[in-house]
Subunit: 429 residues, 2 copies
């Protein structure tokens, strides 16, 4: 239900957001020169606070869950929203694992000396102030806040409205950690309203304060961000991931990879949504793969060619090629070899993660070169598209944008660099 | 003079730009898999064509220059617009030097193996389609076109309208080079109209075709881009560069660096615009530095404290701290030590290049850490803020944005990367 806001309400949101922006900018200046030790102290204190405040967090989460159930949300959505003791402990552990990462700030990425004696180094520095807009997953509040702090950034968090109370309770623990380490509490701020006008202000009216926006979420959020944002965006689009079974694929491997890529966890962005299969192995490979998917509880929706081979496959429409199910459903399309797969992915993919299963080195190289996604894979599961699995520690998501840092975004990816030039009086001829 | 456009004119521009976008996207796919050798062949053929078409380029430039003079443009502007044989030869040499650079595409930036046997590599790939909007400097047409090609990108160029005919003549030479190497001629397109609506279309309506916009120019362009752009921007803001003379600065070095930083060439973005001087050395250092600047033909505009010491200094207003003169004028502000300098730069700088002159290692480190610019310097001239001087080969400018790649943007900075994951059937537990 939309209601027209009064002028005063709008002004209040504006004033709130401008104040948050000013505080974030001040905090960022302090964080940029904070030692790694101080940040680590803060992160450990946050983890301790999360464990100590477990009951409070669970109570807040129960409030969110009750409201969400009343609004009839889906079970997949509920699964992401709901917390229990194990999940809260995992959240605290996540913050501790971020504390254990090496501090990226101040790293000398590369350095060299010029013939005139000037010494030039490229030094890693924080991005500054980051605005993160995310879905109703309470754990993201802790992950994103902790990662931003590790990288020396101030952050303004805006979680999904269905997780409002959970996020607020978790955020209070982060604030405790900052305070105990002597860092500004405004280094991690949570927008204290579910009013969507606050998102508009974050996107449009805070160019003086916000250096980058990280949107995590589905198409509608990304479209809003693309239309409204006046600050740079590090986009975390949906994962419309493909697994392509090539004519030269070994059947057992193709079966194992497909089932894992789709069904291990259906709700993550690296889950495969569309299975592409080479017409050359349609008759030999599709039925056993379909058997395995059905046995794992997956619904199949395919094109006419696939349905002609296996009548357990329902009919797919064009929409299916564009749908991130995040559920136990897979779409199946028959393609003409690796070129057909590349073409389908070019047309429908989201530049997230795409995989070829083949024993042909030539087909693999052609696919890996031509598919224009943040992550391209050969003979493995798209579910490995994950910062932890890449060995990067925690991440806030997989960037599908081309600028800055495609792929998993961890602490290092939340930094930038500057050039430091040291001379002894050189002037330019 | 603004005239209201008819619906048909607007539709024509829209159709023109959509067509250019589609062509660019197709060309980008071809360029992404073009060999380094083919691109080098094209670049050499471009340089040859530029030299062969010298007379035609000069005639086109004469047409632009005549129109510009009629419109009463400034001498600094005219200097950037005008071409002669030497400048055309330098342009051809610039393209040849880009040909000689190593090809960044396909470089393995880093790679590692995971405990489960997965091999992960980060591989450099082109950005895709780049839109470059630049001022009336004909040589940028050649530099930008050649650099984009080197990095495997298709590009849509939009030069300043005062250089329209010059840019068109140079662009024809680039097209010749592409054709001779068997590359699509649409790999480098020049918008064939000076209609500003074309810029609007490039910024707003081509999200399907354009991956990144690179604006080069002054405040009004950047503001337009920031307001209108719906695609990622690699901003090349003005260079409001500062040289700070610290209390611990050696006088002779301070004098030499200041004169070079301001007066070597006043029209480049790395030229110092504001001299900050520590009150501690105001009386001892400012008069001799002022002598040297005046002897070099520079106009001085200062705050009250500086004018009290040296009456040859005119009065500066607050506007002077925010003005990129690109001319023989410098603003002078007295500050309280290194903290005062940091504060002034934070308030008025453009995050381009800022320098401290000091013999104090502590003051230098404090300045280099705290100043939040793409390039920070110690004891040298801000005029070294240049890709060539950094040893990076040619550049299209200095990025002042925080994302992707601050500082000089050469061929390597016009690429991005993807992760290539190679497995042998691994599934995620």
């Amino acid at each position: 239900m939309k209601t027209r806001k009064t002028k005063t309400e709008t002004e209040n949101i504006q004033a709130l957001m401008q104040g948050m922006g000013q505080h974030a900018r001040q905090a960022a200046a302090a964080l940029a020169v904070a030692t790694g030790e101080t940040k680590t102290t803060a992160l450990h204190a946050m983890a301790t606070a999360i464990r100590a405040q477990k009951d409070g967090i669970l109570a807040a989460n129960a409030k969110d869950v009750a409201a969400a159930k009343e609004n009839g949300i889906s079970s997949a959505f509920l699964d992401r929203l709901i917390l229990d003791e194990a999940r809260i402990d995992a959240m605290a552990q996540g913050v501790e694992s971020i504390a254990a990462l090496s501090d990226p700030v101040g790293d000398i990425i590369t350095d060299w000396r010029r013939p005139n004696g000037l010494h030039i180094s490229r030094v890693r520095v924080p991005l500054g102030v980051i605005g993160i807009i995310y879905e109703s997953r309470p754990n993201v509040t802790a992950d994103a806040g902790a990662l931003c702090l590790k990288a020396g950034n101030a952050v303004i968090l805006r979680g999904g409205s269905e997780s409002f109370y959970s996020s607020r309770a978790i955020h209070a623990c982060l604030t405790t950690g900052l305070r105990e380490a002597g860092l500004p509490e405004t280094a991690i701020q949570l927008i204290p309203t579910t009013d969507r006008a606050a998102v508009g202000a974050l996107l449009k009216d805070m160019t003086d304060y916000v250096d980058v926006i990280v949107p995590r979420g589905g198409k509608s959020l990304i479209e809003r961000v693309q239309t409204e944002a006046r600050v740079p965006v590090l986009a975390h689009l949906e994962g419309l991931c493909h697994t392509y079974i090539d004519g030269a694929a070994e059947l057992e491997m193709a079966k194992d990879i497909t089932v894992n890529a789709k069904m291990r966890r259906t709700g993550i962005c690296g889950a495969t949504e569309t299975l592409l299969i080479d017409r050359a192995v349609l008759a030999s490979h599709l039925p056993p793969i379909a058997d395995a998917l059905i046995a794992a509880g997956c619904e199949l929706r395919g094109d006419d060619a696939s349905r002609a081979i296996d009548d357990r496959i329902g009919a797919a429409s064009d929409d299916d090629w564009m749908t991130e199910y995040l559920d136990s459903i897979i779409s199946i399309k028959v393609v003409e070899g690796v070129e057909g797969a590349i073409q389908h992915i070019d047309q429908y993919g989201s530049h997230h993660t795409d995989c070829i299963v083949t024993d042909s080195a030539d087909h693999a190289e052609r696919f890996l070169n031509a598919v224009d996604s943040a992550i391209v894979m050969h003979n493995t599961s798209t579910q490995f598209a994950d910062g932890g699995e890449f060995g990067m520690g925690a991440e806030i998501g997989i960037s599908t944008g081309r600028l800055h840092s495609p792929g998993p975004v961890g602490a290092e990816q939340l930094t930038t660099f500057k050039y430091v030039v040291r001379g002894s009086g050189q002037t330019r001829p």
